[in-house]
Symmetry: C2
Subunit: 384 residues, 2 copies
């Protein structure tokens, strides 16, 4: 692919798009296969919460299911309900559990809740009793996030009072690493130790601790099931070294206008950029409403045909301005394309520019982009 | 309204919502009427780009049309096409202009482009010639943003070569203030002067310069038409003084869990928060995938029944943790509601916490929230 040409440029549907986001489902599937091979014989699930980290759960999850993935994690019941018709045979698990009053909807759509406290377990048990049927559940043991899950005391209490699990079909136990992205962080080993310690006193079930980063740290973290999300979508799960994953997305935007400005001219809102030399400034059709964070102001970079250009001035809602003074004039013309994310600037680099992490860049991607999903089966494209 | 109770709590559809966003269309309409009165006899249009700043253009724009608004601004053709069926009689104007090859779609859906350069004008004229009909257009004169629009030289050239406008039905002229949110910023008066100077040599048409802030600065900025966006949605157009607008949105999230942690415990990813005293930490069901920016980590505030609680640790994709040690225990229970935006914490304050502006908070609001639009006509609610 010519880096200055998004794959969809030739696509007639994209003709009127001012910004085009491509999502390579073949790359997502390849990433899942890489992770599966890395952790076998452990099960490799997929985390598709937050609309598959912004990339389209209804496109991503079925592609993974066709590749053999059988277990999907969402955050909320509603996310699972939306996916169920596309994943008729899969196990769908809601990490945030069942809200009071929503239990029957979980059963109806077969969305298994993760129970995060003794209170959650008690409510789910009471619900099972009203249905006269055993109800499935995962249980979350907190080992150091202090966010969700049973603490050590509650886990001991659960072990001492096994009748609390009566009426439940226990699918498994999960916990969550706080510092897996930092190699050899002592908290990771401590969390693994606490998880084993708690599980030793509890009934058997699948054990799941690692996500995208944890699964690369040591086989000891694999246990029975891993839950990658970010790595599927091309983020680097091992920030200290080369990214083992394929890139998944590209984001290109159109140049709307190129103007010449004199020294001392101000650019954009708040007159926040004062031009220090005679400059050419290009205005491109992407802004913070499209997920280009305002924190990119005066410090982000984009690329035109492999050549970098700096963001100048504030990022507007629908527009950004870039300094193209040092680029060949022929390269920078209205209607041309600018790479915001692509072969020259991956999501992690874009996030570093914006002072955040790739996860927030992905989940911030807007519905306003013209989206093109590249099919894993045929290389064909379909668009929305 | 009890501040700890979002309006939708009683709504059965919201029962399973983990986070609930309410959008008060009556307040949007009231704000538009306030602005219209402020600028009469100038026309008060409405800016509904970026999905009405994240609040739902398909809900907001028809409510404004019923109240008498006849002119709507979007950024992109696609946004106008989506709105056209809901605004059959309105003028819809696309600020970013017509992309090459998309001209016929503009005509088909009656989306009037803003022409931002001599090149745009030439292309639109060529298109008009192929249709054999006059085509409507607005023209953008840059007066100091250096973002889009004809610069002073191009405006002079256009004045000297009026045949460039042959075949066009000129609807009007727009320009855009860079520093209208700062009272008495000298650039505003300079931009107004440049606008008048350019217009003196150009054919007559409606003149539009001010948006939400500019229209409060001086009657001189009203001209023929104003284009408020942010003020319609409750953001303060006059940051130096009391907000003259009604608040429009509330955002509440559920408490999922409350836990007691000891001194020295770490909370969340990266163990980024070390607890300095025995604490109670509540985990709530909203994260950066929902638009709660990661920059709120360790510095944001939320409210429970009028009492503030600090964000502790990093913001996760689906969750935030807050310190509720100093709040009455009875007030902080799983299933209870936390105010992220509401009577105690408006959008501008939430933005200040996150180091950004209210605009970015609004456009970042997620589709994942359960949304309740409060109807202007009846006070009834409808939900999606």
């Amino acid at each position: 692919m010519n880096p200055s040409t998004p794959p969809s440029k030739s696509d007639s549907v994209a003709r009127c798009g001012a910004a085009v986001l491509t999502i390579d489902l073949a790359a997502v599937v390849a990433n899942w296969r890489t992770l599966r091979a890395q952790v076998a014989p452990a099960v490799c699930a997929a985390v598709v919460k937050a609309d598959a980290y912004g990339l389209g759960a209804l496109q991503v999850a079925p592609a993974l299911a066709r590749a053999g993935c059988t277990t999907f994690f969402v955050a909320l019941l509603d996310e699972g309900v939306a996916l169920r018709p596309y994943l008729p045979g899969a196990e769908i698990i809601a990490l945030l559990g069942a809200l009071p009053g929503c239990e029957a909807e979980h059963t109806h759509h077969r969305i298994v809740p993760v129970l995060n406290s003794l209170g959650d377990i008690g409510r789910w048990q009471a619900y099972a009793r009203t249905t006269g049927q055993r109800q499935p559940a995962w249980i979350h043991l907190d080992t150091g996030m202090n966010r969700l899950g049973l603490g050590a005391d509650d886990a001991r209490r659960l072990a001492a009072e096994p009748e609390r699990l009566a009426g439940l079909t226990l699918r498994g136990w999960i916990s969550h690493l706080a510092c897996a992205d930092q190699p050899d962080h002592p908290l990771s080993a401590a969390q693994l130790g606490r998880f084993h310690q708690a599980l030793a006193r509890l009934p058997a079930g699948l054990r799941s601790l690692a996500g995208s980063s944890g699964l690369w740290r040591s086989r000891a973290f694999h246990l029975d099931l891993v839950r990658p999300g970010a790595a599927l979508y091309g983020l680097n799960p091992t920030p200290e070294t080369t990214n083992p994953m394929h890139p998944v997305i590209t984001l290109y935007s159109r140049i709307l206008q190129v103007r010449t400005v004199d020294t001392g001219a101000t650019v954009g809102y708040g007159a926040a950029c004062v031009v220090a030399r005679p400059s050419r400034i290009a205005t491109i059709a992407v802004g913070y409403a499209d997920g280009a964070l305002r924190s990119l102001a005066n410090r982000g970079h984009v690329f035109i045909d492999r050549q970098p250009a700096s963001v100048v001035g504030r990022v507007s809602m629908d527009l950004m301005t870039i300094d193209v003074t040092d680029l060949p004039q022929a390269l920078v013309q209205p209607g041309g394309w600018v790479e915001l994310i692509g072969p020259n600037r991956n999501v992690d680099a874009a996030a570093a520019d914006a002072g955040t992490i790739g996860y927030e860049i992905l989940t911030g991607l807007s519905r306003r982009h013209h989206r093109v999903w590249l099919s894993p089966a045929t290389g064909d494209q379909w668009t929305s």
